[in-house]
Symmetry: C2
């Protein structure tokens, strides 16, 4: 027979997976001799069995519960339902991973008409007894019987009104008895049954209700959001009640052993006199700061402070503690690791390491890499924020805070920023043509598109604030304004965006950079001593490169060259190149682009110094650079002095059924080698310029995209080498460089042994690799991916977290085969997964040399890479 | 020192890879004592070395050539350049794989002003000597010196004219001497050098020219078409000349040991008296049938017949033989395996097996599976064809011959065929909406689209004649006519299509079914005794199913259900279903479709009898079923009584960036389970109906498309099982069935162990698997695939031949993993590769249970499957 129930003295803190967090810690506190009210825990396995058995508590479990109850009765010398000395218990949920407030709790169980009377006599405090009874009926009614809470509140309020009372504490014993009668009537009316008077029946019903609350709607949503598996189940803790509501020498409170928002080493908490736990939570009365307890009950305060020290030392982490004082005696009801802000996490980690409480590695492991993001972006001043007027809310697509004047086109943003204005770019959704506007604005607001829309992805890449998919926004491009209900914002007017919450505000709000305290630098330094993975960045501009270097980037893993093509007036030359009818014409147009590209690379090389820079040659299909609307085609036709109809035909001709699977990447260079030739020429001219003018040892790595066959790479590598040698001969110099490839097509991974013959490095392009491996495109998956999440087909969007079983397996194959051919092949990743902590862990296990991510994720990646080492040791 | 030159007595027929086909067979004939003029062969390796050395004949090779020449001089007792007894030689190319007429040949080498004179004296036949000399100058001038042949012809003609002669044989020795003088003048004018008089220099130049001819333009094209590797190189055969032009007792000819077009056992050939080989080829004189030789030179005829028998017995195959008679003596100049039609291949194979010359397996191995196609489709009567007027020529997209009245829309074709007319559907290109028209027409003609366009693929699938991409055709849909230059064909007028050649004819032409002689049936029977792979068919209609069964299909491997959706007026219900706003509405529309679908499956089950039928549930994205042009949207809006703008918006909304990677396949059933539910209901209702009414043991296999994750299959399999059980419960019966999946997404292959938990069978959908593995779509690859072929990146279009290294590796992984979970998992392939012989060989090696292909490829697949067994034994 499996053991489904553990008394507190049988458990310890390592047993979380069966006792839940709360149960394990109650047992642990008992074990180390802290004052914990007696009790026992029904395991999570019992909860799972309840569901397996078709939502039934079987007789074996029931028996174990009552055996433990009897033991509890013996030890407390009270009896459930005893008229003279009744045992009252609390029944609380306790999940393995904390889900605060999501599941249910019942206090004061064991009370009925008779035991309430007995309790009044025993305590000589009938007011307390009926206060407890009415609380119990209300909680039980709500949680177990499903009666909406406001109906109880209405009764309570009406009695207070009848008696001219304003505060609950003013209710007399008689008032409370009256309320109890009315509550029981409510229960009878709602359930067509009397309120259950048998305490054992109450207990069984309450345990069932807690089991059921594991699958209530809000718990399911919470687990989905927090990626908590649905099969874990909850434990149930049955504990003898202690009462904070037994008068002025009683009370209840919560406290953190350190400040959870700053990390400062100080007790941080609050308490209420003469109250039960839910009063603190409900906010009916305003609690007092914990320090005041010193004045009211100095001994209790000292005892409590001593206990907090014991607990922090014992758990070696900041604790979040619940306590109750019953008639001058202190009881602990819960302790758990306290939640904290990123800032607090960093500070507590460093402090505890300095205090010798933990070592550096433990300090690193306690910081959630995702949280660090908070430390890197500006925020609104909280004082200002309170006064701000909210216009609407969209998706928090890219963190940060931004204030600026509204403009509706990329061109207008660019113009305004030339005038020195701070701007916000507002679009239905962005496209590659908006890049310049995005770069020059403070933030981006779109009315359509999700968390992985163009605007969101590019903004995150730039570390720029973005609110996406703000559906309420009605854009009127023509009149240059937008409306939200009856609010109208015209071009040039100020708005403010909070990328952390997705909120859009009217007018300006002052922002603040979160101070980067010295401890953050220390944490980053510690990661560098531990991690095996190098961290590079994906950056296409000198500006991004500089930010990334400041954040610790050790090179560029992906420098896309297509964004450069949209800049300024070079797009015209790009279009001439695309529309060229002969190789000659195409070369002429490319010659115009060459000096621009050279300039781009000079800026980037200079920013990166002697760090390696991996440049990906042109990747997107050419039609992305052409206009598609008739008006735009017309104006281009005029500009190039060609026939509109012919141009339109060419534009139509270049359209593709599946652009993702079309004429792009290295395929462009197989058909038009002169494009890559120009790019390589620009790269090497720039590199040699920097070497000669600045004496910097530039390390270009030329990366060929979309390789599926070794022969593609063979042909293009030859072109690259020949062009590079030509430039070096012209400049009479030599330069070390590498030629490698993206592995982003399944076939490349599967034939990596052949491809490694040519490639000096592999960089896993896991965005495309994920698309091809799953066979769905990021742009189209929106139509079904929600249903997939809902039906739990994907635990996590595979574009956010690397799919280890599928995409990861391809990577594993590629690594194995690649090394067979070239044992020292350089391996990296440059898909968006390169900035996802869990995916970074996978990359570490696969033995990659580096990950590459957007500049603002570099610190996150550094931490995640260090954690991966520790975790997998 | 590597041996680069072999005397004929040093080689044999197994040495083809270094001696080339011609050289190896000359050596072999020498070896078995047949009369072959003496000579030697310069190896293919020498040719490759020539290219490696930068197109130079190095001194070592030169030395070996002249050593062998001296040996030849000794054995023939003649000397190159000897004034009195000159040795003359032929210099011929000889590739490993025959490339008839693609490379160069020079005869009579060794002649110059002096040896010509000497030869005239020696033979007492100056006419012969100067005839040979002028032939030599012309050939050498053309092949070695690059002087256009017509310039020599002009001289020859003018001399004939001057002397009033009409036939070359009438030219006197003096005339020929005159011609020689003029030829040499031409050479001097063209090359600014004298015609080379040194025979050794002539020889070196000739060998060089033959080496060079390996890479002439037409040879490269020929190799590309015939998939002959470009690195093989050619051998060069130097052989002492024998002369068919030494008078009436001399001659030359070619013969096959059996009839190459029917396979009949009879010598089939022709000859010319007093001529050299090129006269036969050039067609200046009309050759005589070989039988006439019996009258002219009975002894020679008998000797030749005897030799043909020896050669056929020796090579155990039909031979194609070249011979020359010099002054009453027979010499053999070449023997090789004779090319033949499919019909001949079948008949010769069966006959030789019966004769005991070869065994059945050898007979099977000699038939090219691709060729069999010729035997399955109707052709035009040759007599009729001669009279027919050609309108234009397009691509031979799907074989067969068809005559019918022209119609320009699917609807008009359907109407006309209801009236009993035979029709040809003419479209710019076809789309899924044209399916009904394609089914009801005799043939399809399109003005755009290539060999893998919609029209081509679907027509081949149906075994229906199709000419695609006929670019000259100008369609005027409005006036219901098409023009080609000044020919105008109006609706209702007759045209005829030849799908084997791509030719379009005016008017009607009578067709004939090629008689399926008994030998073909025998060959098919033999394959069945050998092959391990079962052969199923891809068929969606009772008609196709019946054809396939007639061709020997053992089941359906892929029954697509989407074509059914376009039929008749059910498309309206389909559109209602797509446009439904609620599940209720959707179910209502699906209910309308249910009886149609049931009917479809009844027809197919009945046609297939107790053979297994694999039905793939709905696969394409829903927008494929909606109209896209404004006019069509308007008329649909009217039909469904909804607002045009709203409908248009929905149509736009459903559009996808990458439909191939979009909301289709099983993803449809994850979001709209009711679609598959309807289909499963239809399948099981139909199956039970057939079982009960016809007593046939129906074996439905439900196939889920586009699975990428085990959980998709888990959810859908559950739906299928529940629906099936519901239907069976309603009908109070039981039915055996299987549920399996396509493996067409890389991730499915990579996680096949998990997927096999649910799938009872895997069917490799190698069309999509190829697209995803390579990362390019079939529809878009047209823009670059030619360049890929040209640059030899792909030897073969991976959509035609399975890419073993990439796609094949995924299959291998899937098979291994699938069997780990379910050792008896059923494995098949249903992509178009299932009908490609080389891909079938791979499927055999992978241990699949069956291949599935279009009905008309079933016999091809049966043969290829048998050959795979023999080849891999």
């Amino acid at each position: 027979m499996k053991k489904y129930v553990y008394s507190f003295d049988e458990g310890n803190k390592e047993m979380k997976s069966i006792l839940g967090g709360k149960g394990a810690n109650l047992a642990e506190m008992s074990k180390i001799g802290l004052p914990v009210p007696l009790g026992f825990t029904i395991t999570t396995q019992a909860c799972n069995k309840y569901y397996e058995d078709g939502k039934k508590i079987d007789s074996a479990l029931r028996e174990m519960i009552f055996e433990n109850l009897e033991k509890l009765e013996e030890e407390t010398n009270k009896k459930l339902g005893d008229l003279n000395n009744p045992l009252l218990v609390s029944v609380r949920s306790g999940a393995i991973i904390s889900m605060p407030g999501m599941m249910d709790t019942i206090l004061n169980l064991g009370l009925n008409d008779e035991t309430a009377d007995g309790l009044g006599k025993l305590t000589q405090n009938p007011r307390f007894a009926y206060d407890s009874y009415r609380r119990f009926i209300q909680m039980f009614g709500d949680v177990v019987l499903g009666i909406r809470k406001y109906k109880f509140d209405n009764i309570l309020e009406s009695v207070k009104e009848e008696n001219g009372l304003s505060d609950d504490t003013e209710l007399s014993a008689n008032n409370l008895q009256d309320i109890v009668v009315k509550y029981k009537e409510l229960v009878k009316n709602e359930t067509r049954k009397e309120f259950p008077q048998d305490p054992r029946e109450q207990l069984t019903m309450a345990v069932t209700a807690v089991f059921e609350s594991w699958n209530n709607a809000r718990a399911i949503v919470y687990r989905n959001i927090n990626e908590i598996p649905h099969h874990l189940g909850t434990a149930v803790n049955i504990q003898s009640m202690v009462f904070g509501n037994m008068g002025e020498s009683s009370g209840t409170g919560v406290a953190f052993t350190r400040n959870p928002s700053t990390g400062e080493k100080e007790i941080f908490g609050e308490f209420l006199i003469n109250a039960q736990g839910e009063d603190v939570v409900a906010g009916i009365r305003t609690p007092k700061a914990i320090e005041e307890l010193k004045n009211i009950m100095p001994d209790i305060y000292d005892e409590f402070i001593e206990i907090t020290k014991v607990l922090e030392r014992h758990y070696r982490d900041m604790q979040d503690i619940e306590f109750t004082i019953e008639k001058g005696k202190l009881y602990l009801l819960q302790t758990r690791t306290g939640k904290r802000t990123a800032k607090a996490a960093v500070n507590i980690g460093v402090d505890m390491a300095h205090e010798g409480l933990i070592d550096r590695e433990a300090a690193l492991m306690r910081i959630d890499p995702e949280q660090i993001d908070q430390l890197l972006h500006p925020t609104f001043k909280p004082s200002e924020l309170k006064k701000a007027k909210i216009i609407s809310k969209g998706l928090p697509a890219s963190p940060g805070a931004a204030t600026g004047r509204v403009y509706f086109t990329s061109e207008d943003v660019v113009e305004a920023s030339k005038r020195g204005e701070k701007t916000i770019l507002v679009r239905i959704e962005t496209s590659p043509e908006d890049i310049e506007g995005m770069v020059n604005s403070e933030g981006i607001l779109t009315s359509k598109g999700g968390m992985t829309s163009h605007a969101a992805v590019v903004a995150r890449g730039m570390g720029k604030c973005c609110v996406a998919g703000c559906g309420e926004l009605k854009l009127d491009q023509h009149s240059k304004l937008f409306k939200v209900n009856d609010i109208v914002i015209k071009e040039g007017e100020y708005i403010s965006l909070d990328g952390n919450t997705g909120t859009v505000y009217e007018g300006t709000i002052e922002t603040q950079s979160v101070e980067m305290v010295g401890n953050f630098g220390k944490i980053m330094e510690w990661t560098d001593g531990i991690r095996k993975l190098k961290v590079r960045t994906n950056a296409d501009t000198p500006r991004d490169s500089k930010i990334a270097v400041r954040f610790g980037a050790e090179g560029i893993g992906l420098c896309r060259t297509e964004h450069m093509f949209f800049k300024d007036n070079r797009i015209l030359a790009v279009r001439e190149m695309i529309l060229a009818k002969t190789t000659e014409e195409r070369k002429k147009a490319l010659d115009k682009l060459l000096p621009f590209q050279k300039e781009d690379f000079i800026g980037i090389f200079e920013a990166m110094g002697s760090r390696p820079v991996t440049i990906r040659l042109l990747d997107p299909p050419l039609h992305e650079f052409l206009p598609h609307k008739d008006d735009d085609i017309k104006s281009l036709a005029r500009e190039l002095d060609i026939d509109f109809n012919k141009l339109k035909e060419t534009v139509e001709d270049l359209k593709e059924f599946n652009p993702m699977l079309g004429h792009r990447g290295c395929r462009l260079a197989i058909t038009y080698p002169e494009i890559y030739e120009m790019q390589v020429r620009a790269i090497f001219s720039a590199a040699i310029y920097i070497v000669e003018k600045k004496g910097i040892d530039v390390k270009p790595e030329i990366m060929i995209p979309l390789i599926s066959h070794e022969k593609e790479l063979y042909i293009i590598k030859k072109l690259v080498n020949e062009t590079a040698e030509e430039v070096m001969r012209e400049k009479n110099t030599q330069l070390d460089y590498k030629v490698g490839t993206m592995i982003e097509i399944p076939r490349a991974a599967l034939t990596a042994d052949s491809i490694a013959k040519e490639a000096e490095f592999f960089s896993f392009g896991t965005n495309d690799l994920t698309q091809m491996t799953f066979g769905f495109s990021r742009d189209d998956a929106g139509k079904f991916i929600n249903e997939y999440r809902k039906k739990e087909i994907f635990e996590k969007d595979p574009f956010e977290r690397l799919d280890e079983l599928g995409v990861g397996k391809l990577m594993e194959i590629a690594i194995k085969l690649g090394k067979e051919t070239r044992s020292d092949i350089k391996l990296g990743i440059c898909g968006e997964h390169g900035g996802d902590p869990q995916s970074i862990d996978f990359c570490h296990r696969m033995g990659l040399e580096y990950v590459s991510c957007s500049p603002f994720r570099v610190p996150i990646a550094r931490l995640a890479a260090a954690q991966a080492v520790i975790r997998n040791r």
